[in-house]
């Protein structure tokens, strides 16, 4: 009987998503509609879509589980997500992206950068990076959702993967960004309600905010409890920061907090949303919704993940990671153990919504990378770019599904690794050029290209040769040394230093040095005037 209810609730949910996708299809008449929603998206829809795209199943299940292992220190990522990912992103990046994107008639993030620096290379190479590397991130989210369907409905993992891909494909291919953003807003609203309910449940079960946190603090000072902890060396408790420069600190601070917290500023699927509204007023109105949304998503996931240790310990004398049999299983196990069956069913839908809203935007971004950036449409047949985009979405889905089959077999904890890989790569390759595009009228094309390529190359080299998490999978160093070493340098700090911390400074330095050398090769003045027309003016 319970299974029947689960299926009914999921069918109703998918029915609403399908209807919103149909609504998007009815309102999509042109390539600009398909890619930017005609630049007339409502601020609440835009904010919820931005948040729901930003927050996926991997944020709630993957990183929530990480908080169960590493503790409340992950809340620094929530702070960065709100302060950098919403406040700074909307005010200092969003407004200029919208205005310059409109001045240059750009439809995608790569097209924005390419037109701003008058470089087809930038547009095509950025499109290729998105099309080649985003499937890793998309597959990570898809794995998370399929695992939830597998656990919640008893579906076969492979079947769950196919069903999920077909549903998302339908409303992205036909509904375009309108279908994606309408359903994002619906899914974001569901996520908000679910996470607030989850926070209330946890604090109620633990007797309020102060007693809950006190109990977790006390656990961190209990040596018998600490013996169970399998976190990397440097762990000092769930309500304190790890020891400076310990392996634990390197993972928490450089990979999770900074890697994801900074990388968000140059995410193509988020940046394009700034170009979907008609004026700065819509962005101003979207900021409150975005800020509160992120607080209630990641903030709640991390607090609940950490506090789950208290509930598991009170129930069976084991900490969350031990009781659940793994980091990725902490949140699902917590829900099954400490909430009622009806709430588990509702939360199953909420996690599906979190995954679906992110994946649909990723498919849309990959599709437009093909239809608009890699294959540049001719001015005579603008409709063709919409057809190529739809074909691009289809190819992206096939590649992603194949990766979602393969990744779990080569990576344990593939969800967090693949997510971090894409965020770090985007931050290193795009961020210096993106800031230059928005704020510098003097940045030369050669400097922008040099910073872009060096950031991308440094990021890839660091992953393949130095960063243990990826290098051990790529296996290049292992193959050369006959399995004696997995990375070029055996030092613990080097092996755990996130690629962003190496590649982003290299990209910035190369940009500045090349700019100093080529400062006389300015971009045409008419392009600068066109790009910055109306920028900085207030109404």
């Amino acid at each position: 009987m319970a299974l029947v209810w689960k299926i009914i609730i999921i069918i109703v949910y998918l029915g609403v998503v399908g209807f919103l996708g149909f609504l998007g299809w009815k309102r999509t008449k042109s390539a600009e509609d398909f890619m930017l929603g005609g630049r007339k998206i409502h601020p609440a829809v835009m904010a919820l879509s931005y948040g729901a795209t930003f927050i996926s199943t991997s944020a709630i299940v993957g990183f929530g589980g990480f908080a169960g292992l590493f503790g409340m220190s992950l809340l620094w990522l929530t702070f960065l997500n709100i302060f950098l990912g919403v406040f700074i992103a909307f005010i200092f990046f969003g407004k200029r992206t919208r205005r310059i994107g409109r001045n240059l008639n750009a439809h995608t993030f790569p097209e924005f950068l390419g037109k701003r620096f008058k470089s087809k290379f930038i547009q095509k190479f950025a499109g290729i990076i998105i099309f080649v590397f985003m499937p890793f991130y998309t597959a990570a989210v898809m794995i998370g959702v399929s695992r939830i369907l597998e656990a919640g409905l008893g579906l076969n993992y492979n079947l769950a993967l196919i069903i999920f891909a077909v549903i998302v494909a339908a409303y992205v291919i036909f509904g375009g960004i309108k279908g994606v953003m309408y359903s994002d807003a619906f899914q974001g609203s569901l996520m908000l309600v679910g996470m607030v309910a989850l926070l209330v449940i946890v604090y109620t079960q633990l007797g309020g905010i102060a007693p809950a946190h006190q109990a977790l603090t006390d656990m961190g000072q209990n040596s018998a409890v600490l013996e169970q902890v399998k976190a990397p060396p440097g762990f000092t408790g769930w309500t304190s920061m790890p020891e400076w420069f310990s392996m634990n600190w390197m993972i928490v601070v450089t990979s999770i907090i900074a890697g994801v917290g900074i990388g968000v500023l140059a995410q193509p699927q988020l940046a394009v949303r700034f170009m979907t509204v008609k004026s700065d007023k819509e962005l101003n109105r979207a900021i409150p919704i975005g800020g509160v949304f992120i607080l209630l998503m990641t903030g709640v996931a991390f607090v609940v993940g950490a506090l789950s240790n208290v509930l598991f310990f009170q129930k069976g004398g084991e900490i969350a990671a031990v009781a659940s049999g793994g980091v990725d299983k902490i949140i699902p196990n917590f829900l099954n153990t400490f909430t009622s069956p009806w709430f588990v069913t509702i939360f199953l839908v909420i996690l599906m919504a979190a995954g679906m809203s992110t994946i649909s935007s990723q498919f849309h971004t990959m599709g437009t990378a093909v239809g608009r950036d890699i294959i540049t449409p001719s001015k005579k047949s603008p409709k063709k770019s919409m057809i190529f985009s739809r074909i691009g979405v289809l190819i992206a889905i096939v590649v992603t599904v194949i990766l979602a089959y393969l990744l779990p077999t080569v990576w344990d904890g593939a969800i967090a690794i693949a997510t971090g890989l894409f965020f770090g790569l985007c931050g290193s390759a795009f961020l210096p050029m993106f800031i230059g595009a928005l704020y510098s009228k003097k940045l030369t094309k050669i400097a922008a290209v040099s910073g872009f390529v060096s950031g991308f190359a440094a990021s890839i080299i660091w992953m393949v040769l130095f960063h243990a998490k990826e290098a051990s999978v790529f296996g290049l160093v292992g193959a050369i040394t006959g399995g004696e070493a997995q990375t070029v340098v055996g030092n613990m700090i080097v092996q755990n230093l996130d690629p962003l911390f190496v590649a982003l400074p290299i990209s910035v330095i190369v940009t500045l040095v090349v700019q100093a050398i080529t400062k006389k090769k300015q971009l045409p003045q008419e392009l600068i005037d066109q790009s910055f027309a109306g920028v900085g003016k207030k109404k």
Partner: protein, 39 residues
């Protein structure tokens, strides 16, 4: 404070709420500003 453990954890808990509040206040203050200009 509030059983939060280290001061850094108490601080980040407050910073998270404060930054979300800053977003709300900014939005309210600028609610009607920044309409379409040339545009």
């Amino acid at each position: 404070m509030l059983g939060m453990g280290d001061f850094s954890i108490f601080l980040v808990y407050i910073l998270c709420i404060a930054s979300a509040l800053a977003c709300v206040i900014y939005g309210i203050i600028n609610w009607n500003k920044g309409g379409e200009t040339e545009e």
